[in-house]
Symmetry: C2
Subunit: 500 residues, 2 copies
């Protein structure tokens, strides 16, 4: 390790330590913190965020980064230091381009918008939220101007969570999905009675659900000596380092699928975090490629594995042992069909594989129109209803199950596209894994998930951020981001299930 | 608030935020962290400690403190800013007197000593630990020289946890206790059969123990909207602010008293933390007076309340409801006597009220001799055995239940005296509360703990560090630190129980 490299990593590690400490505080806030801790926790998190930011934008850091960049300039193209430089430069540029004053304003506006959102939800009325949201859109435009963008302001926001993503690319991606999925959803909606999911509802004891979920992700390869699951109102994954990855779930005793698939989903995120390269831990190079690639890992384990026939051939006896009354008489086919029930619905987080991306399309198109000034905040509910009707054939009776359902808009715009990238990438990776491994469904039916995990470790997890989304996709699948495998998977699977 | 005051508190609050964040990480480390998190957590804690230290010793902080000191110099004697200045100056002086190099060496040596201690415990042989411990004694002398002291080096270490405490004062305090307690322990040991504690042993379901402990401290006034209890191997209390105080316990199903009194004990610490003055939160003035005063609060609720006849008049029916088989036929007198069983034993943490301080005397006198160069590290086991025999009439068969029993010496010397100060102060405060309230035992027997808590809040908790130990004792009890109430309490109580 050169002096310049170690000077850089020394500083990066300190910043990472502060950010991971903040992650611990955030995890505790969502899992165990008593209500009285709120005010103090806010101060502590703000102090840590400010310390990390201060260190990243300091002139001393800039000097060290510059010296490292000069050194790397002459290195061969495949030298990993180029990748380190790229990821660090990106973080540094983002941090230095956003004035502290703007970051502070965003934090305060988020708090204000959150309060307005809570009040609006109580009133089931978006107009209560609209003034704060309008300010958030304006501020998002300011942030976009500060960061810069290739074609239009929305690009800058998209790039924050999906490096390189643009409004144009996002619209194209969602357009391809809509073209195939809207008619498919209509066809399925006309035959909804062909699938019976009633076995998934009843009484499922909390403790048994908890154990069964853990049993599934333990089989996937989640390492409980380097992670754990706790409870929170909204499931999430966070990481304090490759040796300590936390996932959460929440259990609904009346519904089997809710916690079970949430555990598989967060378990998938957790497997990614546990597989990141330890040798680049505590630097941006040791982190995931993007939110979308992260989501591809959660969706792969939740859907491509967890909602497959092969998985239920393996796992049904375990589910039956946990819930003999509920599942004792169910066949693999019963379970497979039940967990793949499709229903055009109002709520994104409850959406199935087929309808999910249409929810994202609604949000993405509205955000883009807002950013372009083509739509005003107060007109969002009307536009929302129109798009929901067009894409899904359902219309929210009020905003609580419409434009007020997601918390995301209290913090800003641009984050939804990762969900669709995740779905699309998960199918690409799944297809490539199937090709590479040959007998993937048979392995899964035997409960042997190791070959799949090894494939993901090698092709994705172990890279950290060494490759971009497009770069890793080319290497792992032979092509860039494409909707082909995802659409083929969805159409084949659901045409069969619904007999279309 | 003046500009100079707000400049100072602004900096203090940032430091406090970092330290509280570290406390959250420390809590998680002891409660939920998986094994794989160890390495990363160590880095994160070190980064936070270094950040907080850096900020405290920075020239900018020194300037702000100096400006504040100049301002306060002219203020009336009862101005609270004097107290703030005193507590901040103390923290600043300690931090600036200890060079970073020395702090770093202490941290590394602690890690080394901890490993040696673990190995020595496995071998039940102090000589495995002795070399690292000898280095720790040398380093403690170095630290003492850096900090300065009134009479002898040990004073400097004592002052760190008990401001103003000296070796001379500690020897005197323990000497007074030994003079009365050694013969009392001998007298009790000759009549041990007079108390039967067998009802405390058997099978006590984990979940019922957990609930019963929480029921007791809820009755005391522990606020669960501003705190919670979790599990850890060694019980402890930590605070992330007055709104978020965490206690822990560990449950032994075969023994009722273990978890129950540990919850009362930590609950007492927790009540102190929850009662600290919110208006000085995030400054040293908003913190406890000393470790010893903190311990006085835990001991008061654990022993003076929890091991009183009045408490069991109130609480026995609840304990019977939780454990009908075990306690169904027990009388208040049965429970009162059982929980006050006295036995000269080898292990400090299992010691009863009568023998506890003799364990502290052994450690204190050995530490002092080590610091004075009168005793060598390798000779500790022999000296330990001799003193145990003299004070308690028992001799450890090996070092695991002798000089290797406490983890404290892996981190340094000087911390034990707080336990004895806590015991002594708890009795002084209890006597004063009894005088002030008149009908304290009757209130307790009715489960009305509010008058006692209000007394503690007013006389101790709400002060923060406004008063010194001696200062608050004079105001609350009319005299300084004295063993009289403690010895009177012990002699009266145990003479009656053991019919001496």
């Amino acid at each position: 390790m050169t002096d310049r490299l170690s000077a850089l990593t020394g500083r990066l590690e300190e910043i990472d330590d502060i950010q991971r400490a903040a992650a611990v505080l955030g995890w505790d806030q969502m899992t165990y913190m008593p209500q009285g801790g709120n005010a103090g926790r806010g101060e502590q998190l703000a102090a840590l965020a400010s310390l990390a930011h201060e260190r990243l934008v300091s002139p001393a850091f800039g000097d060290v980064l510059k010296a490292f960049a000069d050194e790397v300039a002459g290195a061969p193209a495949d030298d990993i230091r180029h990748a380190l430089l790229r990821t660090v430069q990106r973080a540094y540029d983002q941090a230095t381009k956003l004035p502290q004053e703007l970051v502070g304003r965003q934090m305060r506006l988020s708090a204000e918008a959150y309060e307005a959102w809570v009040a609006a939800r109580a009133a089931k009325d978006f107009t209560v939220f609209a003034p704060a949201f309008a300010k958030m859109v304006d501020l998002s435009r300011e942030i976009a101007e500060a960061l810069g963008y290739p074609e239009e302001p929305y690009d800058a926001l998209l790039d924050l969570s999906e490096p390189g993503m643009t409004a144009r690319a996002g619209l194209d991606l969602l357009g391809q999905l809509k073209a195939e999925l809207v008619p498919l959803v209509q066809a399925i909606a006309a035959h909804q009675e062909r699938v019976d999911r009633s076995i998934l509802y009843g009484q499922f004891a909390d403790e048994s659900q908890w154990r069964l979920g853990l049993e599934a992700i333990a089989a996937f390869g989640f390492d409980f000596s380097r992670g754990r699951q706790d409870r929170s109102i909204h499931p999430f994954t966070t990481s304090f380092g490759v040796g300590d990855v936390r996932i959460t779930t929440r259990i609904v005793e009346e519904s089997f699928a809710s916690a079970f698939f949430s555990t598989l989903h967060e378990g998938g995120h957790g497997l990614y975090e546990q597989g990141l390269p330890a040798e680049w831990a505590r630097t941006p190079l040791g982190q995931a490629i993007s939110s979308g690639v992260h989501e591809s890992q959660s969706r792969l384990w939740e859907n491509l594995v967890g909602r497959s026939r092969a998985f239920w051939r393996y796992f049904l006896p375990k589910a039956q042992a946990a819930f003999p009354v509920q599942f004792g008489h169910a066949s693999v086919e019963d379970m497979y069909r039940a967990v793949n029930y499709v229903e055009p619905s109002l709520i994104r987080v409850d959406a199935d594989e087929v309808t999910y991306n249409l929810h994202i399309a609604v949000r993405f198109e509205l955000e883009r129109a807002l950013m372009q000034g083509e739509l005003k905040a107060q007109d969002v509910p009307e536009a929302w209803r129109a798009k929901m009707q067009d894409y899904l054939g359902v219309t929210p009776p009020h905003d609580l199950v419409g434009a007020l359902q997601d918390i995301h808009w209290t913090g800003g715009l641009g984050g939804f596209i990762g969900y669709t990238v995740g779905n699309v990438v998960s199918a690409q990776v799944w297809e490539a894994a199937g090709r590479a491994l040959g007998d993937l469904p048979e392995r899964i039916a035997q409960g042997d998930f190791a070959p799949l995990l090894q494939f993901l470790r090698r092709e994705i997890h172990q890279l950290g951020s060494r490759e971009t989304t497009d770069g890793f996709l080319h290497k792992a699948t032979g092509e860039g981001l494409t909707t082909r495998p995802y659409l083929a998977y969805i159409k084949n699977k659901y045409s069969e299930i619904y007999g279309l």
